[in-house]
Amino acid sequence: MISLSKVTKFFGANAVLRGVDLTIPTGKSMVIIGGSGTGKSVLLKCILGLVEPDGGTIMLDGQDVRRAERDAFLARFGMLFQGGALFDSLRVWENVAFRLMRGANRRPKDEARAIALEKLRRVGLGPQVADLYPAELSGGMQKRVGLARAIAAEPEIIFFDEPTTGLDPIMSGVINDLIREIVVEMGATAMTITHDMSSVRAIADEVAMLHQGMIQWTGPVTDLDGCADPYVQQFIHGRAAGPINPIR
């Protein structure tokens, strides 16, 4: 279980997170929604330690993440980045097998490649892409390779940062379905950041809305449409009029 309590983060005078309280139960898929620039990605990076929070606590299974042994902590996570963040200089299979070929649990090259090919197959990519470089792939294929890399070491917790941004609706649907299937199949805890409502409905067990650096609303995805919160209603229906000022 991941628990955040009163997490704050400032960039200069700009308060991005103003006291976030959130719990993500083990094995559940939590989707964080919210407008652009509301601190969703910063929140995710705070949990991973890529950005240091200025205040509050972040606990993973009861242990403060700042006191956790870094390698062991990160080994529990997989992450799909918004733009894929594939390493340009490495072939597709080397990207997928990156973690498998380094560190304490290093596998032999042939075994790592076999696992990479299996993960690529799992995300719908054939062995013919394995020896290509990321620049030779389309945006959708890069996202799938990123997904394969995120699940390659079978992590307990997977983060998805805007998994469908920049993709056409059909490819977005494919990625959403893949994420849902993989999370269920692996029994992983998932945290997804998105403002794509089709992703929310496809991926989420639980939803939290982040607004002005605080959790505005949280609840099961089944309660989303019926919730009375005017911020949530404005966001999920994409209305220009409402309590959220569209010009931030």
């Binding site: 991973l48 890529l50 992450m79 980045f81 963040a85 340009d88 990156f98 380094r102």
Partner: protein, 260 residues
């Protein structure tokens, strides 16, 4: 302008410059710390050795060749004023190995390598590849910075040594074909007047310049701002910073090596 405003105008950039020097120094210390602790990524080190050493050879070699030739012509025409044309071989050799070989080699490597490292790492930062490395339990300092800095520190002295030889050859070529020197006498004078420390000091300078080039490239790349403009600024800062630091370090090393 009031006195306080004038002081502020001087003080702010001075403090900013000192803070920048401090950050680079801390980055250098962190790099050395990571260099001494495992893991070490040999494959990345080998790739950087090729990139920085082997692929810089043409530009360093051509620079040295033309510099050696021009130096021979200058010393000949200057020396003719007091009948000292005969010193051309020894001055070309000493000038190349002590000063021009390492400094021009270092500057050419700064232009080629510092820019390339800063642009590559800057782009990796902007596209979240460096964050991705961290989430994959790989320390970016160990994976990206240490192999580049070590490769440059080891490769640039070799480039300087090769550049020295090519520069002297450029001087010999001009001396023999344009200035009517006897080939054997030219080479004999070169060897007779050159001391081991002349060459050694140039190679030590090369190592220091290689360290500076890669360190500045990595520092600015890892701290690049957002977007194309951020990467552009990082690249420019890396080349300018490395070039200025090479010239400053050259003066200080020359003081240490040759004035005592």
């Amino acid at each position: 302008m009031s006195a306080a405003a004038g002081l502020r105008a001087i003080g702010r950039p001075a403090l900013a410059a000192l803070a920048a020097i401090g950050r680079v120094a801390l980055f250098a210390v962190a790099t050395l710390g990571h260099l001494l602790r495992p893991p070490f990524y040999w494959r990345e080190f080998g790739a950087q050795l090729m990139q920085i050493g082997w692929f810089s050879l043409p530009v360093v070699g051509l620079t040295a060749l033309f510099t050696g030739g021009a130096l021979a012509l200058q010393i000949y025409s200057g020396g003719a004023r007091f009948n000292a044309e005969a010193v051309v071989p020894s001055i070309v050799a000493i000038g190349m190995v002590r000063e021009l070989g390492p400094v021009l080699g270092g500057l050419m490597v700064a232009a080629r390598v510092a820019s390339s490292i800063a642009a590559e790492l800057g782009t990796m930062k902007v596209t979240e590849q460096i964050d991705a490395l961290t989430t994959l339990s790989t320390n970016p300092m160990k994976y990206l910075v240490v192999p580049r800095v070590l490769a440059a520190t080891l490769a640039v002295p070799v480039l300087v040594g090769v550049g020295d030889a090519i520069g002297i050859m450029g001087g010999w070529l001009v001396g023999v074909t344009r200035l009517e020197f006897n080939s054997v006498t030219y080479l004999k004078n070169t060897i007779d007047f050159l001391e081991v420390w002349d060459v050694g000091s140039g190679l030590v300078k090369g190592a220091a310049f290689g360290f500076i080039v890669a360190l500045l490239g990595c520092y600015h790349g890892m701290n690049s701002g957002r977007g194309a403009q951020g990467v552009g600024r990082a690249t420019k800062a890396a080349v300018v910073g490395a070039s200025v630091l090479i010239l400053a370090a050259n003066y200080m090393l020359t003081e240490v090596f040759f004035t005592s």
